[in-house]
């Protein structure tokens, strides 16, 4: 099919398709003339995946490129693809070296030890957790930082189910694709439910006026 057909089939504008081609997220079509190319079902599938990751999952273009590379590379194991998908949904910052960062490092190391998690400093979550805790301390958010074990316990409850749900037994590329979708969209789903669960708690606290709005 031509680019216009691909656009109609997927509901993605021609301008966006060209952007994804330029950014290397969508593989080029088969060139049929100097300014025309032919696309196939693999492009339709890839476009749907890109839109799910970017629009629904909230991934950056760079993050999407990284996870798609893991989908395509036959040497990336399922375990490593899981780490790549998780890194893509996390923020990354330049580390700041101050007392807050030093305390945050210790807090994360102690947490891992206390929970008995098999992980280490190379996991992108480690660095992100340190950055977030240090930033919370710098901005006076110690009460939220104090929820470290509350969050850890909730994620321990979720993790085995999520890993079970995303590790599927199909050909490698399909399996990695499903894992990436599961990790990215599972996170977006949890954030959506968090918003409603907290609105509900807040409505209880604020009384009926707020409950009527329940925003």
């Amino acid at each position: 099919m031509r680019i216009g057909d691909l656009s109609r089939e997927t509901g993605v504008s021609v301008a966006s398709i060209k952007y994804y081609l330029r950014e290397g997220l969508l593989p080029p079509g088969e060139r049929t003339s100097p300014n025309q190319a032919r696309y196939d079902e693999a492009h339709v599938r890839r476009l749907r995946l890109i839109r799910a990751l970017v629009d629904v999952g909230g991934l950056s273009i760079a993050g999407t490129r990284t996870v798609l590379a893991a989908v395509e590379d036959p040497h990336v194991s399922l375990h490593d693809a899981l780490g790549t998908a998780q890194a893509a949904v996390m923020t990354r910052t330049e580390p700041v070296e101050d007392d807050a960062a030093a305390r945050a490092e210790q807090a994360v190391a102690a947490l891992i030890e206390r929970r008995g998690w098999i992980t280490n400093e190379r996991n992108p979550g480690w660095r992100t957790a340190v950055d977030v805790l240090a930033t919370l301390e710098r901005l006076g958010g110690e009460k939220v930082a104090g929820l470290l074990d509350v969050y850890a316990e909730a994620m321990e409850a979720v993790a085995p189910h999520e890993v079970e749900a995303v590790v599927v037994d199909e050909d490698r590329e399909r399996s990695v694709e499903r894992m990436v979708v599961g990790i990215v969209l599972g996170g977006a789903l949890m954030t959506a439910l968090r918003g409603m669960a907290e609105a509900s708690v807040s409505a209880h606290r604020s009384g009926q006026a707020a409950a009527d709005r329940a925003g």
Copy 2:
């Protein structure tokens, strides 16, 4: 202080400061000459807040603008500011009307009913949850969609603690600022811990070779 001093004090480049001024995230300084302005401690504080939300929390510029407007507007209640902060961490998409979307609508309505949550369609989490569930169905991620109650239970466990931690008793602007920081960074912290908890589960499953890497 001049813009150069503001940059040194906060570690944010002059170019970034000018960008935040143009985007309306940082209020203008007091003009002292046609091409110079004076900044004060409120600007230092605001810049640190912007960097925390954008770099560590992963908010978009538009999302940051919305939550900062809630911080500044004395008519926005704590309950509504909570909703604004939560909306900022969620993705928003153009709704698609198909069978998957209709089933997702029903699944979310049934979930809210089953959990007894005080919330409704106006909560941004409702729309996001519907979009994510429908997208998961379209991409073959039904197993992850099947974790709806696992996610809901985890968020129910977290929500009262989070609301308690972010609702503080100071002047309104300071309270809303802390709430926004808590919601945005608390979410980033949870995502980081999710990454480590899942790497740990995956390492157990994949055996020692993966555990050594523990990526």
